[in-house]
């Protein structure tokens, strides 16, 4: 009997993982419709690593961060992509695959974590299922988002941490995974340690002190390169670029107030900018729990979600409410850890200027899936007419999943094409096919960072780019010229050169030879031959 139920369990979880795979892998390279510049940047640097062992600026095996456009992206996703590229070759699919796989693994991991936390098999399975179809989980698994890999690594770390309660040696694996997650995404450098601390404090008695110390030492050694560079541009560039302090008006406000009250000691204490900043940070934090954001509209960035859907399904508002009700009224193992998980996840984004921010708090996704699942089970267990209720809930879940799938597959590619830099690939393909030797090519920067698309879709040899790197014009680290390309429209072009313009701006006296449109028919690029 036990064996039979085990078999059913394995079959069910396999089916869920299969579902997750279908949802994440089908048409991966063309849905979202094109690769965003960060994805292409990841791809070309990975290609460069595979080919030469150096990034395209010529740095050999960067450990903490790749300079890329000068934004210093964390290193891990580059190396994972390098592996997938070594196997699949330099394709768009290979760039997105690591994130998709991470999303699939996360679905399986959530099942294990949930059981380890003390939830029933049914709840754990439901949680996995919900994660496999949750809007934010799908959204970030279907494009090369480093954060998705980071969150899966964090989950693996948490799984091992929980497993170490029984087998202490798992602590070492936990340390490895959690440290790796910090190499995959900046935000995890805040979230992973805090979450680990939270989980440890909740059931500290269950861990072997010896292995806690060993794990801590392992993790310390593994993140030493990050710690060593903490004052360096490789690590803090991100913080200084995104921190809300730079846009805060607290200093002006508090100074004005102090002046009004005669700069007395009391006024300097009461009107200290730290109070203001604390207030702003709390406000930022809370915005990530705004119901309108979570269930209705999502954040402003069209790459982070589909119109009319938040990061979560609408029905999850009620499921999470039921979960909270359960949390208050029912004694259930693991609920406290789950609560801590939810509270810790937005701590990284609250220090930045854009809140709410689905991407930066992606770590919350598995916790929301699990709490929704448990919330549903709380309702189902307490209500009569169980069969009808279960049927009704299943119908709602499936119906909304279908609506999301429809919106994502049919309407989203058209509506969001410009936000995914649609058109670059088509433009570069045309130019590469039709260019003549020694012909100059001028390309607009209106849509941002054109050079990386030319490098990637032109499949330029990383070696030659590395060699020319020190001498070419750059903006931060973004190339503004290489080979035949110049990425600026100055108005003065060599006769007979190709000019790629944005929209329908055109150039004086040029002959239009090609038009590239967005899926909705609007003009993305026009290619001219200069007079």
């Amino acid at each position: 009997m036990a064996r039979k139920s085990n078999l059913i369990e394995i079959l069910a979880i396999t089916a869920i993982v299969f579902l997750a795979s279908v949802v994440r892998l089908v048409r991966l390279d063309t849905l979202p419709p094109s690769l965003y510049w960060e994805e292409v940047a990841l791809g070309y640097d990975a290609y460069s690593i595979v080919e030469t062992g150096k990034d395209y600026h010529g740095n050999p095996y960067p450990l903490v961060a790749f300079p890329s456009f000068g934004d210093y992206k964390p290193s891990l996703y580059f190396y994972i992509t390098a592996i997938s590229m070594a196997i699949l070759g330099p394709t768009d699919y290979a760039i997105r695959l690591p994130s998709a796989l991470a999303g699939i693994i996360a679905v399986g991991l959530l099942y294990l974590i949930s059981k380890k936390l003390g939830f029933s098999k049914k709840v754990s399975m439901l949680a996995s299922f919900i994660l496999s179809i949750m809007p934010m989980a799908i959204q970030f698994s279907r494009a090369a988002f480093e954060v998705n890999v980071a969150v899966t690594l964090m989950m693996a770390g948490i799984m091992c941490l929980l497993a170490s309660q029984k087998k202490p040696s798992f602590m070492i694996a936990a340390a490895v995974f959690l440290s790796l997650s910090m190499y995959a995404y900046h935000g995890l450098r805040v979230i992973a340690p805090l979450l680990t601390l939270g989980f440890y404090v909740i059931s500290y008695a269950k861990y072997s002190i010896k292995y806690v110390v060993i794990g801590f030492i392992c993790a310390f050694i593994l993140i030493l390169p990050i710690l060593k560079n903490v004052t360096d541009i490789q690590v803090n560039q991100r913080f200084s670029e995104t921190s809300f302090i730079s846009v805060s008006t607290a200093v002006q406000e508090t100074n004005a107030l102090r002046e009004y009250f005669g700069n007395s000691l009391l006024s300097r204490v009461v009107f200290h900018r730290y109070w203001w900043w604390t207030g702003e940070a709390i406000a930022n934090y809370m915005k990530n729990f705004s119901p309108n954001f979570l269930f209705m509209i999502g954040d402003e960035n069209p790459r982070h979600g589909v119109k009319d859907f938040g990061p979560l399904y609408h029905w999850q508002a009620l499921a999470l409410l039921a979960g909270l009700y359960g949390m208050l009224t029912i004694k259930q193992k693991g609920v406290l850890s789950l609560f801590v998980w939810i509270l810790v996840s937005p701590l990284a984004t609250m220090m930045t200027k854009t809140n709410p921010h689905t991407l930066r708090m992606l770590a919350i996704a598995p916790a929301f899936a699990l709490l929704s699942a448990w919330g549903l089970s709380v309702v189902i267990e307490r209500v009569a007419y169980k069969k009808w209720l279960i049927g009704g809930i299943a119908l709602i879940i499936v119906a909304e999943a279908c609506m999301f799938g429809h919106a994502y597959a049919i309407h989203y590619p058209t509506e969001s094409a410009p936000d995914w830099q649609y058109g670059y690939r088509q433009a570069i393909d045309y130019v590469e096919k039709n260019k003549k030797p020694n012909q100059k090519i001028y390309m607009t920067r209106d849509y941002g960072r054109p050079s990386i698309y030319a490098l990637w879709y032109g499949k330029y040899e990383p070696k030659s780019i590395q060699d020319s790197d020190p001498s070419v014009k750059k903006d931060q680290q973004e190339l503004l010229e290489f080979g035949q390309y110049a990425f600026a429209l100055t108005g003065e072009y060599e006769s007979g050169s190709l000019v790629v313009t944005a929209g329908e701006k055109g150039i004086n006296g040029g002959k239009k030879i090609e038009t590239i449109t967005f899926p909705n028919g609007q003009v993305a690029f026009e290619i001219y031959e200069a007079p």
């Binding site: 709390i282 406000a283 809370m286 209705m296 009319d308 208050l328 009224t329 049919i410 309407h411 058209t414």
Partner: protein, 528 residues
């Protein structure tokens, strides 16, 4: 304890109310002049008898109750800011007492009643809305008392409670017309969440009967249709085409299949928008930090409450759900229903139209405070936590008061039409010296001239259907056109902004706002 809370609440609402907010907003000015007119002549400024269901006012069709109340205070104290705002101040104070009884009947404990009254007495938005002549504030008070009577009525089925509740509801509606949307919802919700017993049906029938009879004058008012047309014309989710366009675009992509016509139907998007607008009133910025972006509806230094009150709020939410789930759902249903009038129009969040939601919010916060009180008796650490919370609230409240007292009036002066009252007083001093006075139309400037100048209502009462008058007595309201105006009769006073006049023209007087900025200048044609 209750008495001192009431006194504290009254003082917070009354202190400096004439000068902070710095001046009357045009709705207040209009109320003020209607009240002045009623107290002087028994008729409104258009010459209608004061016992009417709708005051046409400046064409916005005002509810009568506030004007009646204000006519008493204006009659007593004369046409001043304080007199116009006094009914709101008093209503806000009565609401504190109402909250005491409401929490009392809801949570069945005197102590929680006390906390509710303390919270409501201090709540920044409750204080703010009681310091302005907002009709909605009077309606809020009536709704609180009506809820008390209603819950009592359902609890111990006595018919007169229902009659009382019904009459209070009617006053609320005649104080602020949008209350007619929330009251039926409120009654339904109270009914659903109350204990069932037989006598209730009769009670509800009595309520409904009085309620419907009471609404007859409103529906028979000659201005009823015009008032409705005006209210429905604001940009709202039903009269805007964006949802329809969006729906059509999506359907076109799906080739108008049956499923697409169902799931991309415009009602789906209107529904989503309605819910989204309601949820906008749960944004942390709105609740805890800056409040309604309209400077008249929030001081900008706090949301509905202060962030330091958030622990009380969340504790209240959690413990009420845990201990009294039925009451929790009742409070939440009230909250959502009270948001409906604010969620159909597109200006969201809107603290004024959703003012009634202060009731559920204050109840939740007060329940949190009530639980904190219990924690005090549970050991040292918990006691320290509670004390820290209270101290933080105290400090932030003091700072908040300081900011409102010193900076709010200055910051928001423009939103309150600062400078108009000064002009009104000025025109009154000059009125007898000239045969013709030209005044720019401004934003309903004539209301301020009439009110602050204490001009006799007889000047306007014969113009029964003119809502934006061009001529009142010797005054003409039109923009300054210097080359024409200079040709006018010599005994003329031309008032305008400084740059309306060419260089070198001799300025007679400068009219300044309370910050000393010159808002208007006057020119005497005899004395160029």
């Amino acid at each position: 304890m209750l008495a001192s809370t009431i006194v504290l609440g009254f003082v917070l609402r009354l202190i400096f109310v004439g000068t902070n907010p710095p001046s009357l907003y045009w709705d207040e000015a209009s109320i003020g002049y209607e009240a002045y007119s009623v107290s002087q002549t028994g008729m409104d400024m258009h010459g209608n008898h004061f016992l009417q269901a709708i005051f046409p006012a400046y064409g916005d069709y005002k509810a009568p109750v506030y004007i009646w109340l204000a006519s008493l205070s204006v009659g007593l104290f004369g046409p001043t800011n304080l007199a116009v705002r006094l009914p709101s101040v008093v209503a806000g104070t009565l609401a504190i007492i109402g909250m005491y009884y409401l929490a009392n009947v809801l949570f069945k404990s005197k102590k929680s009643g006390l906390y509710a009254s303390v919270v409501f007495a201090l709540l920044p938005s409750a204080v703010h809305f009681s310091r302005v002549g907002f009709e909605a504030n009077v309606a809020l008070t009536c709704i609180i008392w009506s809820l008390v009577a209603l819950i009592k009525g359902f609890d111990i089925p006595k018919k007169y409670y229902f009659a009382l509740a019904s009459m209070l509801s009617l006053i609320a509606i005649y104080a602020y017309f949008s209350a007619r949307i929330v009251i039926p919802l409120m009654v339904a919700s109270t009914w659903v969440f109350s204990r069932k017993n037989k006598a209730v049906n009769l009670g509800v029938s009595i309520f409904a009967l009085i309620f419907i009879l009471g609404l007859i004058p409103l529906y028979r008012s000659p201005y009823f249709d015009a008032a409705n047309t005006l209210r429905l014309s604001t940009d709202n989710i039903t009269n805007n085409t964006t949802d329809i366009i969006k729906s059509n675009n999506l359907k076109a992509v799906d080739r108008n299949s049956l499923a697409s016509r169902l799931f991309h139907h415009r009602y789906v998007y209107m529904g989503e928008e309605l819910i989204g607008n309601m949820l906008a009133h749960f944004e942390p910025d709105y609740l805890f930090f800056t409040g309604d972006p309209n400077e008249r509806h929030s001081t900008g230094y706090a949301g509905i409450m202060l962030i330091s009150m958030a622990p009380l709020f969340f504790m209240g939410l959690a413990f009420c759900l845990k201990e009294k789930p039925r009451t929790w759902f009742f409070i939440m249903s009230l909250w959502l229903f009270f948001l409906v009038p604010a969620s159909v129009p597109r200006t969201i969040p809107h603290a004024l139209r959703s003012l009634n939601s202060l009731i559920p919010i204050a109840l939740v916060v007060s329940y949190g405070a009530f639980k904190m009180d219990n924690l005090l008796r549970q050991g040292k650490i918990k006691r320290i936590v509670v004390v820290v919370c209270v101290v933080l609230i105290g400090i932030q409240y003091a700072v908040y008061g300081l900011l409102v007292g010193t900076f709010y009036a200055k910051k928001s002066a423009a939103a309150w039409q600062d400078g108009y009252p000064q002009l009104g007083t000025y025109v009154a001093t000059q009125y007898n010296n000239y045969d013709y006075i030209n005044i720019p139309p401004g934003d309903r400037l004539f209301l301020y001239i009439l009110f602050y100048g204490q001009f006799s209502p007889s000047l306007t009462q014969h113009q029964s259907d003119v809502f934006a008058p061009v001529k009142i007595g010797k005054m003409t309201f039109k923009p300054v056109v210097w080359k024409d105006d200079v040709q006018g009769p010599s005994s003329s006073l031309i008032i305008g902004a400084k740059n309306d006049f060419p260089e070198g023209v001799k300025i007679k007087d400068e009219i300044m706002d309370s910050e000393g900025q010159v808002q208007f200048v006057s020119v005497d044609l005899q004395n160029l």
